[in-house]
């Protein structure tokens, strides 16, 4: 499974996840799964040990309403106490606001049926599967209890009717370089795979490269237009903040204010001189014609 394609991961997840009846807050939810299991399965599918990454991918799936919290009030969480159900194209499903979508046989993301067509198909299929209706009746006790309980009759059929999420999860895409692979270090120092490759090859990541680079303070500091009002305390590490007295903190904030005020002052004057003249110089537009 190519982990970057949401449709593929969605399919694999649907195939692997174990659906059971789960009781939450006194209500029984049929064909449900908990957040931990979902993250487990996704992590397995995309072959990662990074649960956070798996969670992110799972949220990309639920963002497209591939599944939803049974309470409809939060996104995927890596927790056993949070319960989810797949979206199902059943007309009996009370919680669904939009008409159930249907995938075309090719199901590779190009299928965008109009809601009306999808709805019709859903109904047609329901009436055409009496065996499933029987299975509903075999379990009459639970159904009336909870309005959120999914009827189990259509589940197997409807699994096909769930519109697969589509999209590319760019964090997991392959590098464009043909020489970049799991076990071969990419030549590019900005390749997002590089940190992973380095750790696999037991190399030490170079400081200042890779993903961490985005967090560096320097990229802020060498711009003239640092946000005014940026506090000194937000620009240094916690260790440094903790190592100075309260009086010193106030002093540093005062120095910081002097510096950014001077920056603003010069920037304002330059604004008047440069940017303004671009728009207000009456000959400006003449240069383009």
């Amino acid at each position: 499974v190519y982990p970057a394609l949401l449709s593929r991961v969605a399919e694999a997840l649907r195939a692997r996840i174990v659906l059971t009846d789960i009781v939450k807050d006194g209500l029984t939810y049929q064909n449900a799964f908990d957040g931990r299991q979902a993250v487990d399965k996704i992590a397995y599918i995309i072959k990662t040990t990074d649960r956070n990454l798996a969670l992110l991918l799972g949220r990309a799936l639920d963002a497209q309403k591939y599944f939803h919290a049974v309470t409809y009030d939060h996104r995927l969480r890596d927790s056993v106490s949070d319960v989810y159900q797949f979206r199902i194209g059943s007309p009996f499903h009370s919680g669904e606001l939009s008409p159930p979508p249907v995938t075309s046989p090719s199901s590779q993301g190009r299928s965008t049926p109009t809601p009306d067509v999808g709805h019709e198909l859903g109904i047609t299929r329901d009436t055409g599967s009496p065996s499933n209706d029987a299975s509903t009746e075999s379990d009459p006790g639970k159904q009336p209890d909870t309005s959120t309980t999914l009827p189990s009759d259509t589940l197997d059929d409807m699994a096909d009717d769930v519109l697969l999420p589509t999209g590319v999860f760019t964090l997991l895409t392959d590098c464009y370089s043909p020489t970049c692979s799991r076990d071969r270090l990419c030549y590019s120092i900005t390749c997002p795979r590089r940190l992973e490759q380095q750790s696999r090859l037991n190399m030490k990541p170079l400081p200042g490269l890779g993903i961490k680079r985005q967090l560096s303070r320097e990229s802020l500091g060498d711009m003239d237009n640092v946000e005014p009002g940026l506090l000194w305390i937000h620009t240094v590490s916690k260790e440094i903040v903790d190592s100075v007295s309260d009086q010193e903190k106030r002093r540093q904030e005062a120095i910081n204010e002097v510096i950014y005020t001077e920056r603003d002052f010069v920037r304002d004057m330059e604004y008047l001189r440069d940017v303004g003249s671009l728009f207000l110089d009456p000959f400006f537009f003449c240069r383009w014609y």
Partner: protein
């Protein structure tokens, strides 16, 4: 300042005969003021980037203050400039309208 100066030079807002003199009287040595402040800003930026906890910035000011003469010149001439400006505004409707539009369109921080 070219927001103000360039159009004044280019458009028929001010009679050409007194245009150059007017611009000098009103804007005076604003370019020198920008120059000094750019130096000060660069020195302060450099200090800030070099230290997480800054020991002090007094030395930077001690270095730059001897170059502050443009402020004195600008400040002492400011009233004359304002006088020329107000006089033109009240006697020249085209200029008054120009000021109105520019004032709305630009940052008012340095306008007297």
């Amino acid at each position: 300042m070219q927001v103000w100066i360039a159009p004044l030079n280019a458009q028929d807002i001010l009679p050409e005969a007194r245009r150059a003199d007017f611009i000098e009287q009103v804007f005076w040595n604003i370019h020198d003021v920008i120059g000094v402040n750019t130096r000060l800003r660069d020195a302060l930026n450099k200090r800030q980037k070099s230290y997480a906890v800054i020991e002090g910035i007094a030395d930077i000011f001690l270095d730059i203050v001897p170059l502050f003469a443009p402020f004195v010149s600008y400040g002492s001439h400011q009233l004359y400039g304002k006088y020329e400006f107000e006089k033109e505004k009240s006697s020249n409707p085209a200029f008054a309208q120009f000021v109105e539009v520019r004032f709305m369109a630009s940052h008012p921080a340095f306008w007297f």
